[in-house]
């Protein structure tokens, strides 16, 4: 027997507006603490698993393949990398349209298997290509807070 009910009055069908009111504080974690403190110093850190021959960026406390502990295997990996892939983004995260689109890319840090998602700057979209060498541009020292935004963007490196 199907659920059928004829609606006599359209005012009987309604919706109830509401919210899930939450706010969060996310700690950086043991690995994140080291990573972001080094970002404040203008350096990027990775984590090396020798048995799997992988260097993770951002660094993490464990190797996801073999479960080895990586906490004493953090290494500095430099601030240069290559564009792994990229896009031109017209939408803000809340769905509204941006006036000026921004270039978002996954940057593979040189010599590692990891990468960072970030913006590309000081470059026109039509000049960007997969494999393009880039380097990080940091905010001035006084402005850095220990966040991923301490890197303003990645720009093409000559």
């Amino acid at each position: 027997m199907a659920l059928i009910e004829r609606y006599q009055k359209t005012t009987d069908i309604s919706y109830w507006p509401g919210q899930i009111p939450m706010s969060y504080i996310y700690t950086a974690g043991r690995a994140g603490e080291k990573f972001f403190r080094e970002i404040m110093n203008g350096r990027i850190l990775g984590a090396r698993c020798d048995s799997c021959e992988i260097t993770y960026v951002p660094p993490r406390t464990y190797c996801e393949k073999c479960f080895a502990r990586l906490e004493d295997r953090y290494v500095e990996v430099g601030t240069k990398g290559q564009v792994h892939t990229f896009t031109l983004c017209y939408q803000s995260f809340d769905g509204t349209r941006r006036e000026t689109p921004s270039i978002v890319a996954i940057i593979r840090i040189d010599g590692t298997d990891g990468g960072l998602v970030h913006w590309l700057g000081e470059v026109e979209f039509k000049e960007v290509y997969i494999g393009m060498p880039v380097e990080a541009v940091f905010k001035s020292e006084g402005e850095r807070e220990g966040s991923i935004l301490d890197v303003k963007y990645f720009k093409p490196s000559r």
């Binding site: 509401g18 939450m22 969060y24 700690t27 406390t61 393949k65």
Partner: protein
């Protein structure tokens, strides 16, 4: 169906607030569980993860987020969630992966980081209730517990001072647990004098919100016997859910728990639970809840659990020790990890590896149980050595 055993276990410390990310917590527990039985990640065929609302850790699709930290990199991986019942649904979920014959080993992980919700996960609790008929009244979760405790007390004529003995017992037991968040020696008077949250619930009647993780390793019989001399068999599993129309139920008795318990006891061949079960870990997020569940698990007749508590039957040296670990009241309540912590306690008790918490008398059969959602779910496992 094949026999499945727990062969290893791991647990982090439980604190109100930790620095570690949810992933780092899950890894610590999972690694300890593997190390405890000298297995490697490559020995694990599949992974299941239990974790309660995404809203606590504040990560949407939390199961996927935690998968690599739980050892699930490119492995068959599933996440399950039944609110607070998740911790005991975890071994059940892992059990059917192995019992079905599809996999020989399974890593079961449970993690919760409630401190991400700042200052308090009240917003997540608000939306457990029906959004149209209940949320506009601005309810909080404490009301629901107080409402159930009130019905429980008025139906059986139980007194707050007797129910408070559960907090005294569990916090004392927790003093011997290495991960405990709130161990201590308190008195019934301390409980009654503690601040009223929502009568009849006082502050010391409630378990804390916590961060923590736990993990166990499951193996099919032929693997279990190779890996350890003391495999602990999962002999009975049961789980059942009641309606979300919670105002329609008589809250004095958890019917859904009896259904789950009967399912588990039937599978384990248990006819008289109060005689055949030697040690129990019923879920105790609130003091009265332990008694509510002891009655639902049929370890005490309805209306008689308080007398047995007062007589010392449930103490560690009593006839039917309950929550020898210290339970959620003493060790902490990182929702899903707390339930798995209870399973781990029975595992250790049956292997006589519970250290100072060991109950006397060489127990051979134990039961662990969890509960959750909107007073809805009962999950039960029966373990034997």
């Amino acid at each position: 169906m094949r026999r499945v055993a727990i062969v290893g276990a791991g647990l982090t410390k439980f604190y109100r607030n930790v620095q570690e990310t949810p992933k780092e917590l899950a890894y610590e527990a999972a690694k300890m569980a593997l190390d405890s039985c000298e297995m490697k990640l490559s020995d694990i065929d599949c992974v299941v993860h239990g974790t309660a609302p995404d809203a606590f850790d504040g990560v949407h699709m939390k199961g996927e987020y935690l998968s690599d930290a739980s050892g699930g990199y490119r492995k068959p991986y599933m996440r399950h969630f039944v609110g607070g019942g998740s911790g005991v649904l975890s071994p059940i979920h892992g059990w059917f992966h192995v019992a079905s014959g599809l996999f020989d080993t399974c890593l079961v992980v449970a993690e919760e980081k409630m401190s991400c919700a700042y200052p308090h996960p009240a917003g997540a609790f608000l939306t457990i209730f029906d959004h149209t008929t209940e949320q506009p009244l601005y309810p909080t979760l404490i009301w629901i517990f107080a409402i159930e405790m009130n019905r429980f007390m008025t139906t059986h004529g139980y007194r707050k001072e007797d129910i408070a003995l559960v907090a005294v017992k569990n916090k004392k037991n927790a003093m011997d647990h290495p991960s405990a968040q709130l161990p201590g020696e308190i008195t019934v008077q301390d409980v009654l004098n503690s601040e009223i949250m929502a009568w009849p619930v006082n502050r010391l009647d409630i378990s804390p919100t916590s961060d923590g993780a736990a993990a166990i390793v499951l193996a099919a019989e032929h693997v279990a016997r190779r890996v350890t001399e003391k495999p602990i068999w999962i002999d009975g599993v049961g789980w059942a859910l009641d309606t979300a129309y919670w105002c329609t139920r008589d809250l004095y008795y958890p019917d859904y728990l009896e259904v789950a318990a009967r399912q588990a006891y039937k599978m384990a061949g248990i006819k008289e639970p109060s005689k055949e079960i030697h040690v129990a870990e019923p879920y105790d997020p609130f003091t009265y809840k332990e008694l509510h569940h002891i009655e639902g698990l049929m370890l005490a007749p309805r209306g008689k659990s308080v007398q047995m508590l007062v007589d010392g039957v449930f103490n560690r040296d009593g006839n039917l020790p309950t929550s020898p670990s210290g339970g959620l009241l003493g060790v902490g309540n990182p929702i899903a990890a707390a339930g798995l912590m209870k399973v781990i306690e029975i595992f250790l008790q049956l292997r006589t590896e519970a250290g100072k918490r060991q109950v006397p008398g060489k127990p051979t059969c134990g039961v662990a149980q969890a509960w959750g959602d909107l007073m809805q779910v009962g999950t039960v496992v029966v373990l034997r050595n």
